[in-house]
Each structure stands twice: as C-alpha cells, then as structure tokens.
Symmetry: C2
Amino acid sequence: MKPQGLLLVLSGPSGAGKGTICKALLEQRSDLVYSVSCTTRPPRKGEISGVNYIFTNHEDFEDMINNKGFLEHASVYGNYYGTPRAYVLEQLKAGKDVVLEIDTQGALQVKENFPDGVFVFIVPPSLDELSKRIYNRGTDAEDVIKRRLSAATSELAYASKYDYIVVNDEVEKATSKVSKIMDVEHLRVGRTFYIVDEICKRCKKEEC
Amino acid sequence: MKPQGLLLVLSGPSGAGKGTICKALLEQRSDLVYSVSCTTRPPRKGEISGVNYIFTNHEDFEDMINNKGFLEHASVYGNYYGTPRAYVLEQLKAGKDVVLEIDTQGALQVKENFPDGVFVFIVPPSLDELSKRIYNRGTDAEDVIKRRLSAATSELAYASKYDYIVVNDEVEKATSKVSKIMDVEHLRVGRTFYIVDEICKRCKKEEC
C-alpha cells in the first residue's frame, strides 16, 4: 500500500525567504510537486497556463468558489487567485508530496480546509535582517519599506497557528530543516500505522 | 533564552531493537542524557548506583510512589522499577534532551504524566524478522519463543498511541530517523515560539 503524500504549506511574512526555500526544496526532492495557482489576471508575456498559473475568467472562478473548488482563494486588486483543491488532492492520493508557498491569510484558509497539512512558518533571524533584505531590493521608497516592515510584524502574530517555525538565517540550512520536517512527518503515526496493520494482518493469517 | 529539552520515549515490542537504537543515539547526540531507573532489586556484581540503576529499598520506593515521584513504575517478580520524575524534569529544564527506553505499559504511563514527551514506537520490519531475532538469541525454548512472539503482537496494538512509528530494518537507518525526529521536534511551534516572541518584543521597543 502506497501511503498518501504530504501537503506542505510554506508561509511567513514577505521578505522571510519562503519563495527561495520552496524553489530549493523542489530542486532537491523529486517526490515533491508545486501546486500551480489559478488566477483571473491576464497572462503576462511568456507565461504558460498550467505552468505559471492556470488562467481562467471571473465567472468560472466564482463557480469554483461556490463549488468549494479551492483550498484557499483571495481577491487582489480586482483579480482572483486560488489554490485548486482537486489538483492537490489528486497528487496527494498518487503519493506525491505537494508544496504551497502562500501568505498567512491563505495558509489559515488551507488549515481550515485541510487540517492534515504540515504548516511551516518561515521567519527572518531578526527584523533588522528583514529590513536589510527589503532595503537591498532597492526598489521601494522609505515609507513603503516601513509599511512592509509593519505588515511583517503583524504577520508574525500568526506564527502560533503553525506546526513548525523555521528561522531562515541561511537558505541552505533552512531548506534542510524544512526537508527534515517532511521526512519526519512521513513517520507520524497517522501516516505509518498501515505498516503495523500489515504486520498484524499477516500475523493473524499465520495464527501466531 | 534557552529552550527546555525534549523527553524522548523509545518503546516497542521486545526484539524490535529499541535498546540498540537508544545506545547509538546516546553515542551520537551529546545533548542527550539517559534516564537512569530506580529499582528495589539488589545490585548485581559490578553495577553502580546512579549509573546502572538507582538502588533503593521497598519503603523508600513506595514513599516515592505516594509522592508522585515517578513518571512511571512497575512491579516485576516482586521488585519495583521506576523512572524518577525529578531527575528527568531537572535535565529538561537545563535544556538537555532525555531518553527513556521502556516497554509499552511504561510508555503509556509516561504519556499520562508527561504528554509533552515525544513517543516513538520501534517495530521490526516483519514478524518473521522478529521471530528470527528471538531465535538467534539461541537461549529460549520453542514455547518461550512462541509466547514472546505472541506478546510482541499484542504490544503492536498500542502503536496508535504513539507519535511516530519507526521500522527498525537496519539499526543505522532507524537511529538516523529517530535522531531526525528529535531535530524536527525542536522546531515545533510550542518549542520555538519564543523566537518570534523575542523578535516582536525587540520590535515594540524600536517602535516599528
């Protein structure tokens, strides 16, 4: 019997580095697939439907919302974004692990709809470091940076809703921690009890 | 702030190899200490009190039971055996991880008294393999072996009460899995939330 895959939800304040860790994990773990989001925003040049996003229209998206077709969804600047439930569940059923890289609001919606997921909160080693990272992007004005930092602090308050907290001081170390979390979550009793069950069944047959 | 240590409870049917894994873990992890049991049985030649066991008498042992001084205890062939609560809690408070290697009855008592422990159930890859291991000890008669196997099967029924199941197919692999479980359990939100708390406190001071 092949056990079901894991749903890994990587979240945390912007600037914590969840995107970089997600990319590194996908390179390292061949059993891991990325959940492609669905959106109503028009494709940009070079974007391929099914790879970057699944592109759809407002009507179809709202139908999917009504049919509980999303693990989470949000509206940003008039466009919808969402994680299609069916794709994720199919992959898990086939024994593949699935990763979602998502903001805290989305992660909490996923937790309501799929509490069996593994919820990892990525944090920067300090707010100084977060501030440096946002400054180093070099694209934002002073007040935008302050707003971002303030938002990041508010998001930290959600950390207690997650299963694990991983400090992203170095990407390689943090990625290795998240990868270990996945290995270990596969050993959880809810995911491994079938092994004991099989031993017991065989035993009953042999009348031991 | 130094976080509290982990209480690791290694359990499983006899012949699963929990003792071997426990020994290997203690060699590999310098932050791990072994919880020495207390007993009323007389010391054997060469045994040192405080190293092999803490040797005590019936009266003192029963006083400790009445004062809730044990995380678990049992009476075997007229002698008491128990895990002293104070020693374990002191070590954990000092930030040390503690390992108990214990049978299923004891593990379930520990779970009642200390639900924050990490409960790992070690299983043999198959009953055939368990049977081979018990045969290979070469000391038991046929009916004793059958009794042991039957007891092992009954103990498997307790697996669902644990947090993790680790199949001991190769000692090195199984030890590495348990070691990973310890690393990852240190990342659990209940044990890492203080990091976020510290970031937030610093942030309030700096009024960001």
